[in-house]
Amino acid sequence: MKNSAIYRIVIKDFVVSIRSGKFWTLAGFVFIFASVSLWLGQSQYNRVSTIKAEAIQQARHQWENQGEKNPHGAGHFGSVAFKPITPLYMIEAGLTDYVGEWVYLETHKQNSAEKRPANDRSVLFRFGQITPGFLFRFLIPLFVILLGYSTFSSEKEQNTLRMLLSQSITSKELFYGKLLSMFLQLAIMIVPVFLVTMGMFLMQDFSPFIPHMFILFMAYVLYLSTFVFIAIGISARSRTSGSALILLFAFWLISTILIPRLTVTISEILSPPFSSFDLKVTHDEKQDNKYVYGYKGRDDFSEMYAEIESELMQEYGVGDADSLEVNPFGFAIEKTEEEGQIIYDKTFGQINDLYKSQNKLHRKSVAFSPLSALHFLSMGLAHNDLQAHEDFLDQAEEYRRDLMKTLNMDIAYNSRKGKNNEEGNSHLPYVQGEEFWKSIRTFEYDELGLIKIISNHKYDVISLFLWFFASAFFANWSVKKLKIN
């Protein structure tokens, strides 16, 4: 191994890089930034997860101790669904700060998510973006460029390339020597960050998320390798280090800042988002005018009630409404729920479609910017991207519908039996207590599985691989084309 030309070139380049002083400066910066951002990430994670755990507990406590009331009253009292954060939040904050993290669940209404926990964030964390994700997406690629831009161009400028190419080495050996030397320098910068993160995950028993974290770091390696290849390729094609640096800097600027920003702006121009105010108005209109008192042409709740009552009398074979053992009110109120759901499915469907069409454009940008691909994938792995958000809302809504059905069916089947029913037809005097509230399960968010995440992000993964292979091909080709003069 020590005798191979590749090994010789790796060591030579590494020593030259170290002696030129820039390597330790950059590596030191990575070390400090990574330490600070991991520490900040950990403390934010602790904060947010504590706040959430307390809020969940408090909400449950309120639910269980709401006192004796009619189940429909409990439906109005409502419950709350919280979206948990995962440990990868320490590395990638994603949309957590921008989309809601909890949703208020009540009868008759599908609410959109609220984002109260974000208000508690420290200003530094929200605006400074000091996260390991930021380091890996923006800064390390820049450092790779600073380490690599002169890898060939300086050999040309110093005229050492003439000596180098007059030795009996192949362009393949030269390519791999330069490449591995860059990887060695990169590894010294990022492997410690990976090991520390791994240690943090192991110590806190975040083991279910270690595969996610591992895949995230693999994605970082793919992404950063792309920059290594492009730096080598451009350096080999450039006459001077100055022109190589300018080209590489332009590439960095375009792929990490310009394209991601542009796609956001363009997608907003093409399909402007609803403001949450618009959203609320639309909801309230639909709610007031249409569904509470009926849908499908009915405009009177009592009309529907009568319809259901007669259906039930037929079903139970009784001639008189008072002798029904079930309460038509429970069924009627459940009916309004179901009809309301049709409207909400439509409204939220439209909003989702809008998000999706915006998202589609973002998704296309991954072809042009490896950063976008990496960003989407890492948010997916951290469970704080749009899909995770939608998935959370879907699960919360499913839970809400289930909860309301449980409450309504309790009225339907139990309100006319037993001690609580003295006043006949009406559901109102019927009450339930703590035991019943406790019997209703708490909302628990089921995170998307790893395979589902990867398949959601397959285009991002493909994009990262395509960038990797295309840039590797470019670097290899550039080195083969290396010429004297």
Binding site: R8, V15, V16, T160, R162, S166, S168, K483, I484, N485
Partner: protein
Amino acid sequence: MLETKNLTKKFGDFTALHNLNLKVNSGEIFCLLGANGAGKSTTINLFLNFLKPSSGQALIDGLDVCQYPLETKSRFTYIPENLRLYPQLTGLENLDFFYGLSHTQNQGLPNTGKVSKDQLIEVLNEAGLPSEFLHRRVSSYSKGMRQKVGIALAMVKNAQVLLLDEPTSGLDPQASNEFSELLIRMKSKGVAILMATHDLWRARDTGSHIGIMKQGHLLESFEATTISHSDLESLYLSHMYRHKTPIREE
């Protein structure tokens, strides 16, 4: 041993080298003389495989340099006019690096053995690098010192061929004298040396053969001992002044 057979190089319409035929046997120093643009560097770059011939062949130990670039490169050492080394490394480290590269491909050649650091130091001493510079970075070296590292590389590599492109231009008289002595020592060890130079005096003294080039043509070649210093000078100048266009069209 190096040899060219009808070696021709065209850059577009311009022919930089016309049907060059020359042969340098081991133990010979062939000095190529000629004005700027005569085609001396072009000839050497063709041996280095930095340029591809338009027609003809350049051979080292009978091997075509285009067909066997690695094998032929492992047999020669090239010293350009201004030999550049890595300024961040010491002379010793530079020598170790370049020796390491040549060494790796050399299975079956005389210098397959591993050379120790002490041996490298010894060779640098032999090449005349002042010992206090061994461990200093090359950025502090003079041009002459860098050329000495180049010669040391040839010695440690046990190169059978030396390709030198104006190696003494810009050296002070003492340094170029030392350089010539090193060449004579290499010659006596059986190395075949091709040297492009403008130094008529030294070509006559050091060279075993002399060739005069003009506009891509080798006009004459002869043994150095057959001519005196002053005759060489007048012959050279008469060639340079005689014709603006090529003398012999082949």
